[in-house]
Symmetry: C2
Subunit: 162 residues, 2 copies
Amino acid sequence: MKGQYVVQQGDVCKYENFVLSGCLKTFYVDPEGQEHIVMFAIEDWWTSDLGSFINQAPADFNVQCLENSEVAQISFEDLEKLYLEIPQLERFFRIIIQKGFASSLKRIVNNFALPAKERYLKFRVQYPQIEQRVPQYMIASYLGMTKEFLSKIRSQLIDEQS
Amino acid sequence: MKGQYVVQQGDVCKYENFVLSGCLKTFYVDPEGQEHIVMFAIEDWWTSDLGSFINQAPADFNVQCLENSEVAQISFEDLEKLYLEIPQLERFFRIIIQKGFASSLKRIVNNFALPAKERYLKFRVQYPQIEQRVPQYMIASYLGMTKEFLSKIRSQLIDEQS
């Protein structure tokens, strides 16, 4: 259901979640109540609070459905068992996680090195589907800028195109 | 050798590097020639340009020795062979990479959500050894702030302690 939480900040993240349909966001709420979006997930993506899941420790992040979503869940215990039974699964997750890690490192540097406009353009090219499904203020949060600033960038881009 | 490059931006990163001794930095040089530090690596850490290594594509980052360093290298081809021969290696790397990915996601959010001073304090707690071995201006770059700003934070902290 739209609005439903799959993981709640402070709880232990018990499941890895594979998105069958829908769209979810992973976010941190700071002590002032402000939301900071870490990632989105759409069909065929995995989502969780990875740090919480692997350590079975309290989650830093929330994961919440932005649309009515279907999610296949696997528990920490079941996944550990499956790793032992099906060693190829280690490979499967090793490869997925490598890609995620590599892209998060690029994101860290882009956040420091790229002007906001270029960061937004990169996001649009990399995640065109998310751009269309997610409200602009959430994209602004993901990119680490205010919604007013993103709106200004979008106006500039429209002016440039016309 | 101090100053030596293990990976150069634009080249394909052919090796995963295990640090036997020494200290290295992974960084991006932007078109204006400014350096942005992605990560450091000391003894017992792995370092490379992961995105370049897994795709065997041009590297976004440089990896350079900050001290005289000994590094054990494994090539992409050899590692792929080893994965097939020793399935436990998939598990080994899956676990290491998961930890790295989880901590990089926290770092992305901290960069948005935490004031600079708290980011610096977190860094000191998390990586006390790196704090001692690496020049301050590099730590400032890793934390996404100017060296002047980090220096101001450090002065404030000293004042608070006295």
